[in-house]
Symmetry: C2
Subunit: 559 residues, 2 copies
């Protein structure tokens, strides 16, 4: 039994190896590792280019049930599985998203995994890291400034100032910036108009960076961004403002994947971090495809539960990047099953096998859903110390009844030694060749039908509904040549329905598509199904009040 240390205590006690040594394990020469400190590095574009003709390793997706306040440990399991694969002799790389800086000052920060399955240096990863998000913020806001500057100098492109869709971004929880009026104060400051800020992870530039194959593709997509419409509703592109070149220059370094390490000194790529509601919620394509060239196994995760995260991973990222996942792991916990079965958070400490059985309905549906994509599934039961044998057995029996296997994993307490069984099972699934990946719907399907398909086949609702203006908008985009794009559903992560309180496996619900947005550069159509917040606020007592440097110069209060 491992001692009970906090995540940060474990992370600080880590025996980090120099990042050049981690890179060398992957065959990356020191000159192709661009260091950021001694424990972080970017991988040079030149080196990545040279990998083109190498064969790919196997891609493993880690996803989860719908999140509950009990916590599932998806990232912890992603890191743990990767360490476990390395332990059993496979060369494996973890690929996860970068953390958004702003929210850390609202509530206690998100670490990169937990317990003995973490990525380090966690302080840096929750702060500026290698500056990628700052670069995205800057590129985004340069485009914003160019829009208003163009209007100021005569508006040759005839932008309708009421129809500027390109907002500004900041990596900060600042509700005061959600809705603002800009250009006040007189002639010298331009033409007043309604505007607003989103948090940086909600920027289309973030989604673009994460879906671009290389710098050339990045620049092309940046040019495709629609910033505004004219009175005749024709779009104005970033390319029309000649913004794409300068934005690509600002993103040059941010495009390169970041190499860090797990507590067990195995390589991890931490790169990109788009919102998982209005965007696709996956780490970058460049990081994933690079990792596949360098490893036998690449373990990656998708945002939220499998209904949102895995669906977008498959239908947006894999579809667009030509990725073929070999297996999927669905993370679940006894505690979360109990909450799905109706138990309150305060009562999770008591054995309740019936509640576990009842809550398994949620897990069962995710298993079925992932299998629909032709990807074989295994369930990782992320162990908590209060879990009883009977509860665990109930989960195992349930999963077995669906023709899959649930494996108890103790990586949080024991690192890779606690997750060997899962690692072996993943290898068996991946090497069986059982995977027959295909996205859920074809490119050619109409946009609204794509949304309806996700609602029916993944959310198991009755149908998607939308008012005429939404349907008209979708038809207009189809007419303009955007009909072949995948859809990106923005829905609550807590339920298969649009009601966050409806846990378990609801049926017969209707999913209203309230609004649609075109991310023409990223290459998807967003369907807004419910209240989606793109700029969070701070709580009454923000965690910033407790964050400080201690006498050793270490950061306290961030975790």
């Amino acid at each position: 039994m491992a001692e009970f240390k906090t995540d940060i205590e474990i992370a600080r006690a880590a025996h980090k190896r120099p990042i050049t040594e981690i890179g060398a394990k992957l065959g990356i020469p020191a000159e192709d590792l661009v260091p950021y400190g001694h424990d972080k590095a970017k991988i040079s574009a030149r080196f990545i280019k040279g990998l083109e003709n190498k064969p790919d390793g196997k891609l493993i997706l880690v996803t989860a049930i719908n999140p509950t306040p009990a916590g599932e440990g998806k990232t912890t399991t992603t890191v743990g599985l990767s360490d476990g694969l390395n332990r059993i002799g496979k060369r494996a790389i973890t690929c996860i998203r970068e953390a958004s800086l702003g929210p850390n000052f609202g509530v206690k920060g998100g670490a990169a995994g937990g317990g003995h399955a973490q990525i380090v240096p966690m302080e840096d990863m929750n702060l500026h890291f290698t500056g990628d998000f700052h670069a995205i913020t800057t590129a985004h806001n340069l485009l914003s400034a160019l829009v208003d500057n163009h209007i100021y100098w005569g508006n040759e492109l005839e932008i309708d100032t009421r129809r500027v869709t390109w907002r500004r971004v900041m990596d900060m929880n600042d509700r005061a910036l959600r809705s603002v009026v800009t250009s006040l104060g007189g002639v010298a400051n331009g033409y007043p108009r309604e505007a607003g800020f989103d948090i940086t992870v909600a920027s289309e530039v973030m989604a673009i960076l994460c879906l671009s194959r290389d710098l050339e593709d990045l620049e092309k997509r940046l040019g495709d961004i629609i910033v505004a419409y004219r009175r005749d509703k024709s779009p104005v592109f970033a390319r029309d403002l000649k913004a794409d070149g300068a934005m690509a220059v600002l993103l040059k370094d941010a495009m390169q994947p970041n190499l860090v390490q797990t507590l067990e000194n195995n390589p991890a790529f931490v790169h990109g971090g788009p919102f998982a509601n209005i965007a696709h919620g996956c780490n970058s394509v460049v990081a994933t495809t690079t990792a596949l060239k360098l490893a036998d196994y690449v373990v990656t995760e998708a945002g939220f539960g499998a209904d949102l995260g895995a669906e977008k991973f498959f239908d947006i990222k894999c579809r667009k990047a030509g990725l073929k996942p070999a297996a999927a792991v669905i993370v679940a916990t006894v505690r979360a099953m109990k909450m799905n079965g109706g138990v309150k958070k305060d009562d999770l400490g008591h054995e309740n096998v019936e509640a576990v059985k009842k809550g398994c309905a949620n897990l069962g549906r995710h298993i079925e859903n992932v299998k629909q994509f032709g990807v074989p599934v295994v369930v990782a039961v992320n162990h908590f110390t209060a879990d009883t044998d009977a509860e665990i057995q109930a989960m195992k029996d349930f999963v077995a009844s669906l023709g899959a296997e649930a494996i108890l994993c103790k990586h949080w307490a024991n690192g890779s030694a606690g997750i060997e069984e899962l690692a072996h099972k993943v290898v068996q699934l991946a090497e069986s060749g059982a995977a027959q990946f295909a996205p859920l719907y074809p490119d050619e399907m109409k946009l609204f039908d794509k949304m309806d398909t996700v609602v029916k086949r993944i959310y198991r609702g009755l149908e998607a509904i939308a008012d005429k203006p939404v349907r008209d908008q979708l038809h207009a985009w189809e007419a303009a040549g955007y009909g072949n794009l995948p859809v990106c559903m923005a829905k609550t992560q807590y339920s298969f329905s649009t009601d966050p309180a409806l846990r378990g496996a609801p049926v017969d619900h209707v999913v209203p598509i309230r609004e649609v947005r075109l991310s023409a550069g990223a290459g998807f159509v967003v369907a807004i199904c419910g209240e989606i917040m793109t700029m969070p606020g701070l709580p009454r007592v923000p965690s910033s009040e407790k964050i400080f440097l201690n006498e050793q110069g270490q950061i306290e209060g961030l975790f």
Copy 2:
């Protein structure tokens, strides 16, 4: 004669040495160099702490005449002199400011020096560099978010929302953000109020970072920031919002000096970059004091001409940090003398000895002014190819008549070989022990009298004037304990007067103090004497339109 290559061509042809090698020249072990790529590094806090008991080298200030459109080459001379000192066997470090990112997308970017006297890598230095400015932006805006968040949750501190003085910042030229109304859109977004953005270099956090001795001093000063006033006009501090700790955490890495190199592989610290009007316009105290521990000579520069830049360097930076400059170099050019003598820019190509003589009045006054601080002076005549012998001789004669020496410098064309004579002269002045540095006015002088002293003794005006509200405000600050702070004059850089068109050496002008601002964290009182722009705009054809990545992945159009 050197070939005529552009700055960027010369910079790209540079034979950069690994930054660890540059650090090793200064005795910095590799583990105390925190790398950012292979050609940039921060110096660890631990290493700097260990230098405390080492003796200091000699500090040389490079300043200039009032800037003209002809260009003076202050940074070029700073870099050249440092290379020249190294050439003649002195260990010398250049200490200059970091560049602001935003303005590069408006007009063709500022390089770090020029010709054969440059600091590299210049692309990085004009873009994200080591992320310092992004960290400052983030720390500043965290405080902004905390102010509005405090008001949102009940405003326990009773902030008067009409008197919030803390704005937001962005490192971008975006005139639309100068004046905005925030928190629109309903209850969830807070209380609407007038607000605005400045460019990051105008942030008080920038000034604080540049004046702080160490992280502890930084955190204390951050807490001292005044963010707003109550209805009774009592100040609300950043400390009251418990923001200082989290801000210090965000600035932890940004506080460490950045090591880069000159084209001749000599060490350069490039760190901090406060505005030179509403702030003091010098690189960081930490960089300068660290460099003094590591070198025989530290060559640094101050913003704008000597009337603004050198005065603030002496009266704010040196006063507060206990620095004692050993000599000063005033950069001037034949071309700039001619412009000061009434010649138009298009006519600068023709010999005009009389105009040179006439324009020397401006130079002469700066020589006298710097001597007032007890610092010996030499004039560097930064050579341009069209300069004639007669014109150069006229400058030399004029300077000699004031008891100083003017030395022709050809570092732009020839690097250190072109500036040996100046280097020898600087060594002679510094080693003569002639310097008897003292600031212009004592701490105890009343705030308005300090302003009046600068006007009379430096600008040679009749007097400073101010309306009653301004004088009352100064008295109120004196009563509140801020009377001992130095003053920071915000005036046009183009003239000794407040009229930018008045070149040469005007007399008898009156300097109106229109507004005063208290930078309680940075530790100075700003006197606004004229229109001061703290958020620039973009031109009709912004340079961003020409910036792109070429097929080799190199940045084009930035310079």
